[in-house]
């Protein structure tokens, strides 16, 4: 039953990503050219509601429906890993024109080439796991 809920959330998310064109290489390129408000509007409006909602959850101490605690733990402090990791991610985001969510959406939409990008993302994740102890964090 729970797995059906996760699946349904994924379907909903996939449709949003595709229909908003956030999964389009063109929209990502346009964003980094500051050619349109579209992507900034998507992220900005999600964030505006997100900040309000998270504050509400914290102040009213809202708990998950199935018990346990809200997954809102603070991130570990630091700069290096976030900045360097972020830059590498951004380079890939602009090059492939897709971040992890949209990659799966595009696979479903039938773009065979995106499977190469997904394979790369798995390889990249694996490489990070191998090199983690040698990297500055």
């Amino acid at each position: 039953m729970r797995y059906i809920a996760y699946f349904a959330i994924g379907v909903f998310f996939g449709i949003i990503m595709f229909k908003s064109e956030a999964a389009s290489w063109f929209r990502i390129y346009e964003m980094f050219q500051f050619g349109s408000f579209h992507m900034y509007g998507i992220i900005g409006s999600a964030l505006a509601l997100g900040v309000i909602g998270v504050q509400f959850i914290k102040r009213k101490n809202v708990q998950p429906l199935n018990g346990g605690t809200m997954n809102l733990q603070p991130k570990n402090k630091g700069i290096t890993r976030y900045l360097l990791g972020g830059i590498l991610f951004g380079l890939g985001w602009a090059l492939a024109g897709a971040c992890p969510g949209p990659m799966y959406v595009l696979a479903g939409a039938g773009y065979a080439s995106i499977l190469i990008v997904i394979l790369g993302a798995i390889v990249g994740t694996f490489l990070y796991g191998l090199l983690r102890d040698k990297l500055p964090h």
């Binding site: 996760y6 050619g35 972020g86 991610f89």
Partner: protein
């Protein structure tokens, strides 16, 4: 019908993404679309090669269900919910065409010059896709999250590390588009 078949404007998509995040929080999970890549590495036996993948990945199977859903969502949206052509700003489309020979803006969802199946026979193009993916996967785990995990979830929770990561995303993205694209296209 119009509302479904036309591209969705930002003020529809953004709030819906926030709803996805809150739904996941309310069932005890969190919104982040790159952790599943670590789950995949762990499920494939990566724990033998690196301790980073040595964890009980079965507890993270839920994020694979979200991924499976996203694939199906992409199928539904692309096949049954109207035309998929993406129209970007005409100046940006013209610049893409003039500078990089990418003429498919306003004709397709993804640039056919990079993503068409025929282009898979071009080794350089395949390398470009592969490197893009590796950077995304490596960078997301190094930074501890991607667009959803940091730019939406993390910033919604007012996390400074997420702000640093998002600044990094833009440094990387702007560098790629403005300084590296002229070298590779």
């Amino acid at each position: 019908m119009h509302l479904i078949t036309e591209p969705w404007p930002w003020y529809v998509a953004g709030p819906l993404i926030a709803i996805v995040m809150f739904t996941l929080l309310l069932i005890g999970k969190k919104f982040g679309m790159s952790s599943n890549l670590r789950t995949v590495c762990a499920a494939a036996g990566g724990g033998k090669a690196a301790s980073f993948f040595d964890f009980n990945w079965r507890e993270d199977r839920w994020n694979l269900m979200v991924v499976f859903g996203a694939v199906v969502g992409g199928y539904i949206a692309s096949h049954f919910m109207g035309d998929t052509t993406v129209f970007i700003h005409p100046d940006v489309a013209a610049q893409l065409s003039q500078d990089y020979g990418i003429h498919s803006a306003g004709e397709a969802y993804l640039p056919t010059e990079i993503f068409s199946t025929e282009r898979l026979s071009n080794p350089l193009n395949v390398l470009l896709l592969l490197v893009g993916g590796i950077l995304v996967g490596f960078g997301a785990r190094y930074a501890g999250g991607c667009t959803s995990g940091h730019a939406i979830s993390g910033l919604s929770n007012l996390q400074i590390p997420s702000l640093i990561a998002v600044i990094g995303f833009f440094i990387g993205g702007l560098t790629m588009v403005h300084f590296i694209f002229p070298l590779i296209f």
